[in-house]
């Protein structure tokens, strides 16, 4: 009995999907499972001991320095997310509603142009602006507003500014994409029913763009909480975030099990955020 046409088609299809699945399994799923296992081992006197235990997770809750990392990460991420949405929404609205149609694409490209500096360089360039002898301090001193240079870099504020700069651009894109899809008839209908401009905006436009906002906010959350570069360059050494602490485990102490455990905790935080915004997140499919 020869194979039916459907069977031979299906066999070929397996052949086409296999490389991608194999790559994902070998270089994503297996490493991830390996890391989960690793997080349940421990490092004792310089060697990794393969004895299953929860010591790393317990240590996370017991050692204030580690737990504070998660708290800092969450605080900074939440501040950045809210601030970015608040700053990006009006800009997206202005581009979508006040800029003539044929200039919109150009305006959008301009709004995200600094994306095309290297990520590392982007944080560094904020250092030029915020450091003790940077642009802001020098300007303030020249004008005579301050006598002594302010401590603007190497703290949480600098990290937040660096992040917000990046995510305002990202959110402007996602929110604009959402605004532009709205039919102008919504606004006409609302006006027709007696709503003023503000009421229309608050009761009609904002709810309709909520999915776009939430998608952008979630993306911001995920990228922000997992980033090492920006806080490392701009944040100084006083308030370390979780990724910095993870990198510390890898570097000086070579404590892979602890780094793995902290990574799992970081992932759980992202998963939690996903669960909280899942109802607004639409992953588009064909």
């Amino acid at each position: 009995m020869s194979m039916t046409l459907e069977q031979s088609e299906q066999r070929k299809a397996w052949g086409f999907v296999a490389p991608a699945l194999a790559w994902t399994l070998a270089f994503f799923v297996v490493p991830f499972l390996f890391m989960v296992a690793m997080s349940l081992w421990s490092r004792q006197s310089g060697a990794i001991v393969r004895a299953w235990n929860l010591d790393n997770y317990l240590a996370f809750f017991e050692k204030a320095a580690l737990f504070k990392g998660l708290v800092n990460s969450l605080e900074i991420t939440l501040i950045v997310t809210v601030l970015s949405v608040v700053l990006a929404y009006p800009l997206a609205w202005i581009i979508a509603e006040r800029v003539p149609k044929r200039f919109q694409r150009m305006a959008l490209i301009m709004a995200v142009l600094p994306f095309w500096t290297s990520y590392v360089v982007r944080s560094y360039s904020w250092l030029l602006v915020l450091s003790k002898n940077g642009v802001v301090n020098q300007t303030l001193m020249t004008v005579g507003l301050v006598g002594e240079p302010l401590e603007l870099a190497s703290n949480r504020t600098a990290t937040v500014i660096g992040f917000t700069h990046f995510f305002v651009m990202l959110l402007t894109l996602t929110i604009y994409a959402n605004l532009i899809q709205l039919s102008p008839n919504y606004r006409r209908a609302a006006a027709d029913l007696g709503a003023n401009a503000f009421e229309t905006f608050w009761h009609v436009i904002v709810p309709l763009t909520l999915p776009g906002i939430m998608t952008g906010a979630f993306l911001t959350f995920v990228l922000c909480i997992g980033d090492y570069v920006t806080p490392q360059i701009l944040g100084g050494n006083n308030e370390l975030v979780l990724p910095q602490i993870i990198m510390l485990q890898l570097g000086r102490r070579a404590d892979f099990p602890m780094a793995a455990a902290l990574s799992i905790i970081l992932m759980l935080a992202v998963t939690l955020a996903y669960v909280l915004c899942a109802r607004w997140l639409k992953i588009e499919r064909a």
């Binding site: 994902t24 009006p90 982007r122 360039s125 940077g134 970081l266």
Partner: protein, 263 residues
């Protein structure tokens, strides 16, 4: 009328402020890359291209530039190829567990790069595989494959099914159908996936940092430059990358994507 003017004015003021915020660091970066002096901060001492000369003379930087290019190119090619094949299989055939397969292929998108890098690092260490540009490339395929798959998969509309059937009916093998019919029809989204992938790989730091050893990519090399603090040379290499990227972007915008419409 008055309200309209108010809204207009407020809009312009706001847009100017935000655009100022967005462009401030980039402007400072580019301006002080031409600084005639050792510090890329005010006052601006005068115009000089000495730091660009220094960048081009820096063999490590130039090597890193080339490495970045090679890694971005090859990892994006692999990611696009695997993503395309998987999208073709899952969009055109009924496979058992296809929802699960799609979920698995997309999954790396939701995980921080740091975690992906760390996972790979522990496995590579466990198997005693030395770190190299190849391992960086493997990591970059992991992060770009979901992207390429998602973009190409979502562009494989059902209206293409009969066109591919017609090609097979006329005697084309599966490979020929893909090369001669499917890929040309989906070229805009394949190119979009490819360029996005190149951009991500080019700019990626943490995976490149953790999975490379002697040969490093540009972000990692710039990272080590940062240890010397504020340095006009960092400005110069940063500005250079920015200017070239923008030039390429504009070129693509006005040639390739002009044709494919306002999408």
């Amino acid at each position: 009328m008055l309200r309209n003017v108010l809204i207009s004015t407020a809009s312009w003021v706001y847009a100017t402020l935000i655009f100022g915020f967005i462009f401030l660091p980039v402007a400072v970066l580019v301006l002080f890359s031409f600084q005639d002096g050792r510090l890329p901060v005010p006052p601006f001492n005068g115009f000089s291209t000495q730091w660009y000369t220094a960048v081009f003379a820096d063999r490590k930087l130039m090597a890193a530039l080339l490495n970045s290019f090679v890694v971005a190119l090859f990892s994006s090619l692999i990611a696009c190829l695997l993503g395309f094949l998987a999208a073709y299989a899952l969009a055109r055939h009924k496979l058992p567990g296809s929802a699960l397969q799609r979920g698995l292929l997309i999954a790396p998108m939701t995980v921080s790069y740091l975690i992906i890098a760390l996972g790979l690092l522990t496995v590579l260490n466990a198997f005693g595989i030395p770190l190299s540009l190849s391992t960086v490339g493997i990591g970059h395929v992991v992060i770009n494959l979901p992207l390429c798959f998602a973009i190409i998969y979502s562009s494989m509309g059902d209206h293409h099914v009969n066109i591919e059937r017609a090609a097979r009916d006329l005697g084309a093998s599966d490979i020929k159908v893909m090369v001669l019919v499917t890929a040309p029809m989906l070229m805009p989204s394949i190119l979009a996936a490819f360029f996005l992938s190149v951009t991500f790989s080019w700019d990626e730091f943490i995976i490149a940092f953790l999975l490379s050893r002697f040969d490093v990519t540009l972000p990692v090399e710039i990272w080590s430059l940062l240890r010397s603090g504020l340095n006009p040379k960092t400005n110069a290499i940063g500005s250079l990358v920015f200017q070239v990227s923008v030039a390429v972007l504009m070129l693509l915008e006005f040639t390739l994507f002009r044709k494919t419409g306002k999408s």
